[in-house]
Every structure is written in structure tokens, then in C-alpha cells.
């Protein structure tokens, strides 16, 4: 049992410090690619046209009028 706040992942702890840094630096690219895929799925479903449709209409209740 590990203490709270401490990693219990042996693989992670046994990694050389140099490699750990490498993993952290790859993280932004993984995150960006994941969200890019999500955005592409949205485009595939036709969401941009729905967003455009909504954004070109004044939503009076959304701005506190009516």
C-alpha cells in the first residue's frame, strides 16, 4: 500500500530521470492529437453548421433580455 500523494507505480519510479522528462514533454502532443480527433469527429457529425446556426442568431434569453 502506498502513502497518499506518493506514486505506487514501480515502472514509473524505476524509470531513469531522463526518460521521465521525455514522457512529460510528449504529453502536450498526445493531448493536442486527442482533442484534434474529437474536433474531427464533431466536424464529421456536422456540428460546425449547428454552431454557426446558433451563433448567427441573437439568443435574447441568454443575454438576460426576455
Amino acid at each position: 500500500m502506498g502513502q497518499p500523494g506518493f506514486s505506487t507505480n514501480d515502472n514509473e519510479l524505476n524509470q531513469p530521470v531522463k526518460n521521465r522528462g521525455k514522457n512529460i514533454k510528449m504529453a502536450p502532443f498526445i493531448v493536442i492529437i486527442l482533442f484534434l480527433i474529437l474536433a474531427m469527429i464533431g466536424i464529421g457529425l456536422g456540428e460546425p453548421s449547428q454552431v454557426l446556426n446558433q451563433a448567427t442568431q441573437i439568443c435574447l434569453s441568454c443575454i438576460g433580455i426576455g
Binding site: 522528462g21 512529460i24 514533454k25 504529453a27 502536450p28 502532443f29 493531448v31 493536442i32 486527442l34 482533442f35 484534434l36 480527433i37 474529437l38 474536433a39 474531427m40 469527429i41 464533431g42 466536424i43 457529425l45 456536422g46 456540428e47 460546425p48 453548421s49 449547428q50 454552431v51 454557426l52 446558433q54 451563433a55 448567427t56 441573437i58 439568443c59 435574447l60 434569453s61 441568454c62 443575454i63 438576460g64 433580455i65 426576455g66
Partner: protein, 295 residues
């Protein structure tokens, strides 16, 4: 760098609010650019707005999710969340410091001479509560008899919407004044509250109530472009504490979720320990040693 940031803030203000024909049309921009995401909080019902607000669009999609499923369209907000995530993955809350019109507005308000106060640190968590409840859960699950939700954050809270859209639309279309009620008074009160607070404290809305800032804050550890601390150079002198507009103690928490990468700390760091970098590669370092004239 501070001057560059001001220019970038101005540029984004005009890029996201570039429709200046509204006094003639007395309405909002309805062109194809509205499919582009505004990186900062910028109401798309603002007459000058040329882009969509991700927080507003997300709520609209969540509010209509049942109807879209029933009609076989499956609009789940992937496009909006994906776009927000890409922006977050690249720069995170740097957007708050460099590209948000409402952030710029608060910065300008804070320049008004007055006694200045700090903000109770625990209030920072309020924006995550607002993100989860008013932007995600309530639009998804608080539905009317037709199965349609509501844009809770925009409708009941967003002071940016009142400032950028509510008030201008009332001026452009005076007939709308007949529809005014308690809802507008509530939103106007919230706006006035944040305006006064922004004069007295630095960026109170960003620090306590902005759901978009809360979303971008989730990327603080994994964003591509970030301010980093050179621990070997840092002497923990604390010079970075007093200048941070977000109340971050940068030398103690370089990955702080509140950091908006404004580089105020880098400017005062005499050890050159604070740098803006891409994947750890420094691209900006601001402190310049004063030149000493030979006697």
C-alpha cells in the same frame, strides 16, 4: 514583452470583435467566420463579434442534445470541446493573459487608482463549480417539458454577455427594453459587482468565476507553450510574488493552474530563472541587467 502582450491583446480584441457595421445593421454579424472559436470569453450575441464563444456554444449544444439525438444528428459538442482542447493543449491559460477581451477589460479597470486588495485563495475553486454545474450538468439535465435545456451560465451569470451583448443590443434595438425584467437586473448587478471588484482586485472574474479559464487551467501541466522555472537559478527571493496579477507564487508552484503566462514574474526575476518556453526550450527571457556607466 509587456508591450507585445498589450498589442496581442488588442489584436485579439479586434479580431474577435471585428464587425463594425453593426450601427448600420443594428444586429449581429451573421457571416461564415462565426464557425471559428473565440479563444477567450467573447459573447457571440455581441454586435461586433465575429467568432463564437465556446462556453455559449457548448451550453447550446448540451441544452439541445436530446432533440438532436431524436432527430438523428448526434450533436454532442465534440467540435467545440475539441477546439477548446486544442487551444488548451497549445497554450492553456496563456489565452486568459494574451487573448481574452474580458481579461483585458479587467486589466484596464484595475489601473483605476484605488485601494487594492487580494482575493481569498479558496474562491478560485468557484470557477470549477460553475463549469461543472452551470455549463455542463444543468444544461444537460435540467430540461423543460419539451426535452430542451437552458444555457444556465449565459442566462443567469455571465457578466461578459451583459457587457458585450445585453447592453449594446438594448441600445441598438430600443424596442427590446419592453422585455426587461428581473433577469436583466440580476445580470446587470453581477456585472456591476465584477466591475467594482476588478477596480479593487486584480482579475477577479478570471480568478473566481470564469468557466473557460477553469477549462484551460486543466492543461497547466501538459500545455506545449508554458512559463517554466529554472530551479538551479531561483534563489526564492519572492520577487515574483508581488507582481503576479493572479496571486501565484511562481517559485513555489511553477505549474500553478492560475498562471496566465503574462510574464510579469519573468520581468522582475533578476536571476533570469523564469522563461517562456516550448517544451522546455526557452523562447523569451525578459530581465535585463541595468547598464552601469563607467566612472
Amino acid at each position: 514583452m509587456d508591450l507585445l502582450r498589450k498589442w496581442v491583446q488588442g489584436l485579439f480584441f479586434f479580431m474577435t470583435n471585428g464587425y463594425w457595421n453593426f450601427p448600420v445593421t443594428r444586429s449581429i454579424y451573421k457571416g461564415p467566420l462565426k464557425v471559428v472559436c473565440s479563444p477567450g470569453l467573447n459573447c457571440y450575441s455581441c454586435p461586433a463579434s465575429t467568432t463564437y464563444c465556446p462556453i455559449g456554444a457548448l451550453q447550446q449544444l448540451f441544452a439541445g442534445i436530446r432533440i438532436s439525438i431524436e432527430t438523428g444528428q448526434f450533436f454532442m459538442g465534440f467540435y467545440v470541446i475539441g477546439t477548446m482542447g486544442i487551444l488548451g493543449g497549445f497554450v492553456g491559460r496563456m489565452i486568459c493573459g494574451w487573448a481574452c477581451p474580458f481579461g483585458l477589460f479587467q486589466e484596464l479597470l484595475h489601473k483605476i487608482p484605488s485601494p487594492k486588495f487580494g482575493i481569498w485563495p479558496l474562491l478560485r475553486y468557484m470557477k470549477y463549480i460553475l463549469l461543472v454545474f452551470m455549463v455542463i450538468l444543468l444544461p444537460l439535465f435540467a430540461i423543460d417539458e419539451f426535452g430542451s435545456g437552458s444555457t444556465w451560465f449565459c442566462k443567469y451569470f455571465c457578466p461578459a454577455g451583459t457587457l458585450e451583448a445585453g447592453i449594446p443590443m438594448l441600445l441598438l434595438q430600443p424596442a427590446l427594453q419592453a422585455n426587461l425584467g428581473w433577469l436583466f437586473l440580476l445580470k446587470l448587478s453581477i456585472l456591476i459587482f465584477f466591475i467594482i471588484w476588478a477596480v479593487l482586485a486584480s482579475r477577479p472574474f478570471c480568478r473566481t468565476a470564469c468557466p473557460l479559464g477553469a477549462f484551460y487551467a486543466l492543461f497547466s501541466k501538459v500545455k506545449l507553450i508554458k512559463v517554466s522555472l529554472d530551479h538551479k537559478k531561483c534563489t526564492h527571493c519572492g520577487a515574483c510574488h508581488d507582481v503576479c496579477p493572479m496571486g501565484v507564487h511562481f517559485n513555489e508552484s511553477p505549474d500553478d493552474m492560475e498562471c496566465i503566462s503574462c510574464l510579469s514574474c519573468s520581468k522582475v526575476c533578476k536571476q533570469n530563472a523564469i522563461n517562456l518556453g516550448i517544451r522546455g526550450l526557452s523562447i523569451a527571457n525578459q530581465y535585463k541587467k541595468p547598464k552601469v556607466k563607467p566612472i
